[in-house]
């Protein structure tokens, strides 16, 4: 962190970033983390600054690029084996023992006094890796990078490739570090990041005093505004007049970008899912003008939403067969408009965005979510019952004066779901089932989130179809990080929704809780592990039930 102002870091630049990330991981306070990130960014400029900001936020590419290194765990582990000389089984056992492949790498790599990768070399190498198609080529590319790494560089290179730095700093922390480094307003940094879809360009604009010039562009995925949960109507009693009320649809949240005849649908995970829903893309493409809509993809039959269970069969297929399209039709229900005819509306209040949405809906092509108002709690409860009767999950409440806070969860939006609680859990281990399901990886151990790690809370055996189990089984084999006899530990990335009869304290699981009769309700491919139920939420529900 001694580089002169305006310098590029040159040789060894990547090592400095890795050392900074390690220092950030070792700090508890957010301010200290921001200060560390800021001090490494402030002397940088040009491409080094762009790339450094991306790497410090854990993603080697801009979000809008839709580029991924797509090196699977096994490929990375093979590269580690190649570089360290340990066999793959030992590498896997080490990763499992340490709990993280990147950390294990740093403990296996020998010291390396050569200066290592420069920032632009790291960038080029990662882009080269993304272009490689074959696993063997990817492995060779990773080995070439690792051979130039010291232990700390290897640690963060592998963490970057495995999709998570786990240093207790989220994207907001990096935004604040950029604001601090270049003396800018942090709201302005956040806005530029949202509109550019690139933390790297945001950093450059911040340095050059050009944050205000960053313009929103369609077809760059944008973060979703998220709602805070409520458990009963009384929680919003005081605010009721300021809320617009809508049904909470049981589907896949998506942003629809449209200009000319081009359409792109992005999921909550910012993945492009357009090809999975050709009928929606086609209907939107026929509409006039350009827009960005926020809404829900739902299975739809005979004028009402169909079950998520059926929609699930449409997911994860790049090009659905015509029979499937006919059997399970889907539609897009829009409830927000974030841009229209070149004008971004993120900073317009909900009321104005709703007007734009209604204008865009005049030509049809998608459904419009109906808006209700509730004068009192009784009316709100009646709306909840009516939404449930229509086959929807519950209600959404949105403050009519609220702006669209992309990628943030706030209290301007609230969600009120079914009374029976379910948890969104992450699968941490799988094993083969018995009887009818012998030979299939059908038994899942799952966990809730505790800060940045996952703590097991239960195990479930059923609830998915054989086809789903087979499809997931193949995936679990790919993401296996170690084996204990029949049990495969897997990278925590598959999210499931589970229901249960009751919640108990238990020493059996690391979470300190156990679920009685857990059942898998459905897969949640639309959710990331970071969105899993937290241990605090579990504890809160336990307290609540205990006091009843």
């Amino acid at each position: 962190m001694t580089a002169p102002k305006g310098a590029s870091l040159g040789e060894g630049g990547y090592r400095l970033l890795a050392q900074t990330l390690d220092a950030v991981a070792g700090e508890r306070g957010k301010l200290a983390k921001i200060a560390l990130l800021s001090s490494v960014l402030s002397p940088l400029e040009g491409n080094d600054l762009v790339v450094a900001a991306r790497l410090l936020s854990g993603s080697p590419f801009a979000e809008w690029e839709q580029t991924v290194t797509s090196a699977g765990w096994a490929t990375v582990a093979r590269a580690v084996a190649g570089v360290t000389g340990w066999d793959l089984e030992t590498v896997g056992a080490c990763a499992l023992a340490i709990g993280d492949l990147g950390e294990a790498v740093s403990l296996l790599l020998p010291a390396n006094s050569a200066p290592g990768l420069s920032i632009s070399e790291a960038d080029e190498a990662l882009r080269g890796l993304a272009r490689q198609r074959k696993a063997a080529e990817k492995q060779a590319a990773i080995e070439a990078m690792l051979r130039r790494c010291s232990p700390v560089e290897g640690k963060y290179l592998v963490k970057t490739l495995s999709g998570g730095l786990r240093i207790g700093a989220d994207i907001t922390t990096v935004e604040e570090a950029i604001a601090l480094a270049f003396g800018r307003d942090r709201e302005a940094v956040a806005r530029a990041h949202r509109d550019s879809g690139d933390i790297g360009e945001t950093a450059r604009a911040a340095r050059e005093g050009q944050l205000a010039e960053v313009r929103f562009r369609l077809f760059h995925p944008i973060g979703f505004m998220l709602a805070s949960p409520i458990e009963e109507a009384a929680e919003v009693a005081g605010e009721l007049p300021s809320f617009a009320v809508e049904d909470k649809f049981d589907g896949i949240r998506a942003h629809a970008h449209k200009a000319g005849s081009r359409v792109a649908l992005f999921s909550r995970t910012l993945d492009d899912v357009t090809a999975q829903f050709p009928e929606i893309a086609m209907a939107l493409a026929l509409l006039p003008g350009s827009f960005l809509l926020d809404g829900e993809i739902v299975a739809y039959r005979e004028g009402r939403p169909d079950s998520f269970f059926r929609l699930q069969r449409r997911l994860g297929r790049k090009a659905p067969a015509p029979e499937l399209l006919a059997e399970i039709p889907v539609t897009f229900i829009a409830y927000d408009c974030l841009a229209r005819d070149g004008e971004p509306l993120f900073e317009a209040p909900w009321t104005a965005r709703r007007e734009a949405l209604e204008a865009a809906a005049r030509e049809g092509g998608f459904l419009l979510s109906e808006v209700f108002r509730a004068e009192g709690l009784g009316e709100l409860e009646a709306l909840f019952e009516a939404a449930r009767a229509r086959g929807n999950e519950g209600l959404m409440l949105k403050r009519t004066d609220s702006l669209y806070q992309a990628g943030k969860r706030g209290r301007a939006w609230r969600k009120w779901k079914k009374a029976l609680a379910t948890f969104d859990v992450v699968v941490t281990a799988v094993e083969q089932g018995h009887g009818k399901r012998a030979g299939m990886l059908s038994d899942y151990t799952f966990a809730v989130r505790d800060g940045e790690r996952f703590v097991n809370i239960g195990k479930a055996y059923s609830g998915l179809t054989d086809e789903e189990i087979r499809r997931l089984g193949a995936h679990f084999k790919k993401i296996t990080v170690g084996r204990y006899g029949p049990v495969r530990a897997v990278t925590p990335e598959v999210v499931l929704e589970v229901s249960f009869d009751s919640l108990q304290k238990s020493a059996r699981h690391k979470s300190g809780f156990a679920l009685r009769f857990p059942r898998i309700v459905r897969l949640r491919p639309d959710k990331t592990p970071a969105e899993a139920t937290t241990i605090e939420e579990v504890a809160r529900l336990y307290e609540k039930r205990a006091t009843r």
Binding site: A25, R28, T84, W86, D87, E89, T90, A93, C94, A97, I98, G99, D100, E103, A104, L107, L108, R166, D450, G451, E452, R453
Partner: protein, 290 residues
């Protein structure tokens, strides 16, 4: 523990056993390091294990066959236990808690330096250093290291009650007092077992810097597990390289591995052409023989 009718051990181990099991009324036979005993034609001799004060490896010998059982051991030097000896034996039963190459522990001097530096930094920030360290062995080691640098310590009861045995062995703790006499004052470090991490003993110290002293501290995840600020891989067990060195020095015909990464370590030895198998999985061995 109460089930042990008779125990054999080094005088230090017998004394520690009595201290930790005050109700115990069985018979004890003290066997200092190097002194032999014989029973049913088998000769037994105890060798230093380097794990904690009094810890021993057991070597049995009969008809030119010998078995060395390491128990918990380490070869790195520390303040209160002599490094493990490696008497040649035909069969080695080795404790492999850290039997994977990711487990590499720094030498004592480096760790003590980091420990003292972390405590001084905590004092500068007007925080109480809280050392999470196992009550038998590590707590006394850490106390002696801090004492050597003039840092007073407050010891949790589980560690405090074992001090007489250490004093009998010639160690002094002039800057220490028990937690019973009051929580740590500014300038004092608290030493408590890791299990106390989330109990009031630790949690009610508002301004604290928590140091986790364990071989498991090489895992970043232990930061969250123990709510720790500083991770120090202070271990009383052999690391991976020491395990390899021990096998080489003892030079056995066959190695049996026990505890921790027993399976992996046996596999790694096999890959080097040795006759090795984990004791924990005897059925697999039987399957191979069939």
């Amino acid at each position: 523990m109460a089930g042990h009718g008779e125990i054999w051990g080094t005088p230090e181990t017998v004394a520690i056993y009595r201290r930790r099991n005050p109700e115990w009324r069985g018979a004890a036979r003290e066997l200092p390091y190097g002194e032999g005993a014989e029973s049913l034609g088998v000769a037994l001799r105890l060798y230093p294990a380097g794990h904690v004060l009094g810890s021993a490896q057991l070597r049995f010998e009969a008809e030119e066959r010998s078995l060395l059982y390491t128990g918990d051991f380490k070869r790195r030097s520390c303040r209160t236990a002599a490094p493990a000896a490696a008497p040649p034996s035909t069969l080695l039963l080795i404790e492999t808690t850290f039997g994977l190459p990711v487990f590499r522990f720094p030498p004592l001097e480096e760790l003590e330096e980091r420990l003292v530096a972390a405590c001084r930094k905590a004092f500068e920030e007007e925080k109480t250093p809280v050392l999470l360290a196992y009550a038998l062995g590590k707590a006394q080691e850490a106390t002696l290291a801090l004492t050597a640098h003039g840092i007073p310590t407050v010891l949790h009861g589980a560690a405090w009650k074992l001090l007489p045995e250490y004093e009998a062995a010639g160690f002094a703790f002039p800057l220490s007092r028990p937690y019973e006499s009051g929580p740590p004052a500014p300038g004092e470090a608290l030493i408590a077992p890791p299990i106390c991490a989330r109990t009031p003993v630790v949690q009610k110290i508002k301004r604290r810097s928590v140091l986790y002293l364990s071989g498991w501290a090489v895992r970043e995840a232990s930061r969250a597990d123990f709510d720790a600020d500083v991770l120090l891989p202070f271990s009383d067990h052999a690391d991976f390289q020491e395990l390899l060195d021990h096998v080489a020095d003892v030079g056995p015909e066959r190695v049996l591995t026990l505890h921790g990464y027993a399976r992996d370590f046996a596999r790694i030895l096999q890959a080097r052409g040795m006759d090795a198998s984990p004791l924990s999985f005897p059925r697999e061995r039987a399957g191979e023989d069939a």
